[in-house]
């Protein structure tokens, strides 16, 4: 956006060249309609130094690893440490899960994920649901023994574990019980309660049946408090924008709604009397990456900048770790089509690169 009275030193050559280009452009495309990205923001045919001001550099961009982190939350970003790749696993019986996971660990995976069966999602025990669908899209985990089987041979004190469930609290309790049985200190249990963000399930996946929103928020604060007190290496939440974007939100809307959820959770924690500099550094985020390449990169950069300011100015966090917008992302199935499997590989690659250039970790 042009800044009035700024960057006026580009000179007459610039102005003449700009006017010449504009004339040529309008001559060749006299009836061009304005173009917009998926978020409805106009995309101009060309951007020049007139569109920004060097005065904005420090407040809006700055350097990687410095607030507002627009260019990345770490000074070295992917040159220092490559992004984590985590394969989602969840199938059949605990034995089947264990076999698949060990194969992945043996192949060099540094992080695990666990997806329980839909029966678990819905709050049923395994013997309460139709056998035909039991364990067909997640692992049947009903007891600590099941979790023990799932994690047999896995060094749970040395590997990061993501628990994927709309309320991962029971899974975490199982995991901690396994740690206790094995004499592994809870200080060493690391990972994330993925999808403990119930607001996203409520608004985007209409899971009204599971918990009332008020109760879910209370449970969430209980979870944050427990994790803060007992599990120094555990992230209690990954605030989810992916569900919203897959449900039709534009990239800008998905980012906005996700930040709104995070503010809600943070303020709920503060209302409980929790210290913002203790709980906020362990908030993480999870997003969708569509094929709108530049827009997705811009979405992540904007998210980082907005979060840094929100954390500092609105939530009052003083610890810079709380200002850092940590997130993971998933490529989008919405942009794929069954008829073109090979094109889908290229599409997914494009999405993944947008996420990487957008600074995911």
């Amino acid at each position: 956006m042009a800044q009035d009275g700024k960057n006026t030193t580009l000179g007459q050559d610039f102005e003449a060249a700009r006017d010449g280009w504009q004339g040529a452009y309008e001559k060749q495309l006299p009836d061009e309609e304005k173009r917009h990205n998926r978020s409805g923001i106009e995309v101009k045919p060309l951007y020049t130094p007139e569109d920004w001001s060097s005065d904005d550099y420090m407040p809006d961009l700055g350097f990687p690893g410095d607030a507002p982190y627009t260019r990345g939350i770490y000074p070295t970003m992917h040159r220092g440490r490559s992004w984590t790749q985590r394969q989602l696993i969840g199938l059949a019986t605990p034995e089947d899960y264990n076999a698949r996971m060990r194969r992945i660990v043996d192949s060099g995976a540094t992080a695990l994920s666990m997806i329980p069966c839909n029966s678990f999602y819905r709050g049923f025990d395994a013997d309460e649901v139709d056998i035909e669908i039991l364990g067909t899209c997640g692992t049947t985990i009903n007891t600590v023994d099941d979790m023990e089987t799932c994690l047999a041979g896995v060094p749970i004190g040395d590997i990061s574990i993501a628990l994927n469930d709309p309320s991962p609290f029971t899974l975490l309790a199982f995991l901690l019980s396994v740690a206790k049985r094995r004499n592994v200190s809870w200080d060493r249990i690391s990972g994330t309660s993925n999808q403990s963000d119930y607001i996203s399930h409520y608004v985007a996946n209409h899971m009204f049946f599971r918990l009332a929103l008020g109760g879910a928020r209370r449970l969430f604060v209980d979870h944050v408090q427990f994790v803060n007190e007992r599990l120094p290496m555990w992230n209690p939440v990954s605030v989810v924008g992916q569900h919203m974007q897959q449900s039709g939100a534009t990239p800008a809307e998905a980012m906005a709604f996700t930040l709104a959820s995070a503010i809600q959770y943070a303020e709920d924690c503060q209302a409980r009397g929790l210290d913002v500099d203790t709980f906020l550094p362990r908030f993480t985020f999870f997003f969708d990456i569509s094929i709108s390449f530049f827009e997705e990169i811009a979405k992540f950069r904007a998210g980082r900048r907005i979060w840094a300011r929100l954390a500092k100015e609105r939530l009052g966090a003083k610890d810079p770790r709380a200002w850092r917008f940590k997130f993971h992302a998933q490529t989008s199935g919405v942009d794929l089509t069954r008829q073109q499997p090979l094109n889908n590989i290229a599409r997914t690659t494009t999405q993944a690169i947008a996420g990487i250039l957008g600074g995911l970790q």
Binding site: R35, H36, N37, R38, G40, N118, S119, Y121, R122, F124, V129, D130, E132, I133, T136, C137, N205, H206, M207, F209, S247, T337, R338, Q339
Partner: protein, 155 residues
């Protein structure tokens, strides 16, 4: 906005318009999976094509679907499946027969492996629409099945 949202309305086919009452289709999901985007989309296709649609939402039990199909007197039940919930369709077919609803057409749409499609056809499922089916394929396919069935029933 350059995102093209389809706004054109499908014209009702003369075949459907000629029927004494519009085709009545229940669009449902049985089982435990909540991925309902496909079922919502198909429900809107069918409605736009002039059919009467009963949309149940996901997480339905077989007994509920059968009960509702009887009360609404639907021509066809469309079961949407993304995550293996179509494996419950044999139970649905049995329950429909037990309820005397043998003449209700059952179709399945979504992610259905080839071997499962064979099994479903053997169980009496009239058609399986995979992801990637066009709107015309789905609308015309269902309309043809219903028109044929009504003729068989002497309507």
């Amino acid at each position: 906005m350059n995102t093209s949202v389809e706004t054109e309305t499908t014209e009702m086919s003369p075949q459907i318009a000629a029927l004494s009452r519009p085709p009545k289709v229940m669009v449902t999901k049985i089982g435990l999976d909540g991925h309902d985007r496909g079922s919502r989309l198909v429900a809107s296709f069918l409605r736009d094509a002039g059919m009467e649609v009963i949309y149940t939402g996901p997480w339905q039990e077989v007994a509920t679907v059968v009960n509702q199909a009887a009360q609404e007197d639907v021509d066809c039940i469309g079961v949407s499946s993304l995550a293996t919930d179509h494996l419950l369709v044999p139970k649905l077919m049995t329950a429909l027969r037990n309820a005397g609803l043998d003449d209700t057409i059952v179709i399945v749409g979504g992610i259905v492996p080839d071997e499962d499609e064979k099994m479903l056809k053997q169980e009496g499922v009239a058609a399986v629409f995979h992801s990637g089916s066009s709107r015309a394929d789905i609308v015309d396919g269902i309309a043809d099945l219903i028109i044929k069935r009504r003729k068989e029933l002497g309507e």
